[in-house]
Subunit: 125 residues, 2 copies
Amino acid sequence: MQILKSSAAELAPEFGIMAGRWSQYSGLSAMPFGAMWCMIPPGGHSNTDCHPEAELVMVMQGTLHVQANGREEVAPAGTAVLLDSTEEHVLVNPSGQNPAVTLSIYWLPEDTSGPAPTATAGTER
Amino acid sequence: MQILKSSAAELAPEFGIMAGRWSQYSGLSAMPFGAMWCMIPPGGHSNTDCHPEAELVMVMQGTLHVQANGREEVAPAGTAVLLDSTEEHVLVNPSGQNPAVTLSIYWLPEDTSGPAPTATAGTER
């Protein structure tokens, strides 16, 4: 069991916000996705981001406004936001006082033109 | 963009708690892990669980006590708890009043005896 908290993580400026990539944790077993903490300061917002990876943004603290696909959705703590591959998105923290924290995980969608994928791990649990 | 909230999910009794498997969501693109919401009622706890999948438990609401490996750790909302493959664990909600909600994702660790894995997706983002 490993306990991981954004408050104890090393964060660095990236994407216009503060990011804490999980590559900083030594000894984590391999995971089929990349992961990072994102801290959006009060009144702050990320740069517009767009990448080939699909991304699942879990709002762990505060409330975010997530802009994507011409829409803006309110995502309070406890919400998960799934962004498709190449979907442009911006994370906005509308609070004047409180930071917002997410855990974002991301993965390259499988190439569906090849043989059947083998990495549908865990779906039978 | 898809907004996913445990409060709008269908939950059913499983593992001694209430679970909301993400297989209920139609149209989600494939993900390299399984996912489910878990709601542990006030004063409740899960059954002892043990499975070959590694599991990342993200505490989305409330506070959990996570028992694993002979230890008990306090995991307030915002915490991520990584459990190894076959690590026995119990999720305890010590609150007398408030439910605790997690998002748990899980995957089968890759077989490291074969050729180099190709599913290190997203780590270069």
